[in-house]
Subunit: 141 residues, 2 copies
DNA sequence: CCTAATGCTTGATGATGTCAACTATTGAGG
DNA sequence: CCTCAATAGTTGACATCATCAAGCATTAGG
């Protein structure tokens, strides 16, 4: 199944992670819909931390998408009063995004739902959970 | 960060997994584009194993989306000669999908790319990789 | 039979995403 | 200073993704 003559264990671990994220791909839309959000909007809100404004272009980089796409995404979130465009003082071309108080509340509601661990995680023992955390940390960086 | 008075370790593990799948959400489109596929098409091809035809409705269930969405996805993949609709013999309402030889080749090219493990995975020792595989297996089922 | 339920398609609509063209601003040289 | 290229964001055109409601054919139960 793994093409190159690499360690098959590495491949299997990676395949499981990929499978996991495909599963997420199925479940996120329903979860997001409860808050009237789309998956893309969730991703954006997830990246926008309270008290840490971000220029639009930087967000496009983090989302790995075109800048014009961010424009539309931000238009919709701003029209709902969740985020806010402000001109940068250093560079008048730049607009920085920040969460409104309403956005902060919605974001934390979102994170609360997204990070509610499923039953399968509870089946792991405390030691196993600790190992998993360690491994994933090193994986992501 | 975790709302309920639950084990914070469970929450952290889950958060890392969620973070991982958001990272995938960013990288999959580019990877898929190399094969002229969209993320949704990847998901569908991923579910459609060679030699194991699947009714359209079942696929809609697996993708957690509306049946009419599958119609469009299948239209595009079929017009490229990657998959094939065939009438079911047991039930003439049902159409089963199967990969064409071209589809089989593209699917394996796709899986090969998707499952090419990133460098960060190689940094784990053999033992650590083994643990990770075990933990993830129990997580997914 | 008649009727309800099922599987898929169609059409309308909105969101996501890309690209190319445009405006405004910045910054580097001449 | 003055041009001129690069950058940040917007706009418009277009394809895809995704939902819903309506419709058709088939199936299954009463």
């Amino acid at each position: 199944m793994c093409a190159k003559p690499k360690d098959p264990q590495v491949c299997e671990a990676w395949q499981l992670l990929v499978r996991f994220s495909f599963a997420q791909r199925s479940s996120l839309p329903a979860l997001a819909a409860e808050l009237e959000l789309s998956p893309a909007q969730c991703h954006l809100l997830n990246l926008l931390e309270p008290g840490r404004p971000v220029p639009m272009g930087q967000l496009a980089g983090a989302l790995s998408c075109d800048a014009s796409n961010v424009t539309g995404l931000v238009d919709r979130l701003e029209s709902r009063g969740l985020i806010q465009r402000s001109p940068s003082e250093q560079d008048r071309r730049v607009k920085v995004l920040s969460l409104t108080p309403l956005g902060v509340r919605l974001r934390s509601a979102l994170l609360e739902r997204m990070t509610a661990p499923p039953a399968s995680l509870q089946r792991l023992s405390a030691d196993e959970q600790r190992s998993l955390v360690k491994l994933l940390r090193r994986l992501i960086e």
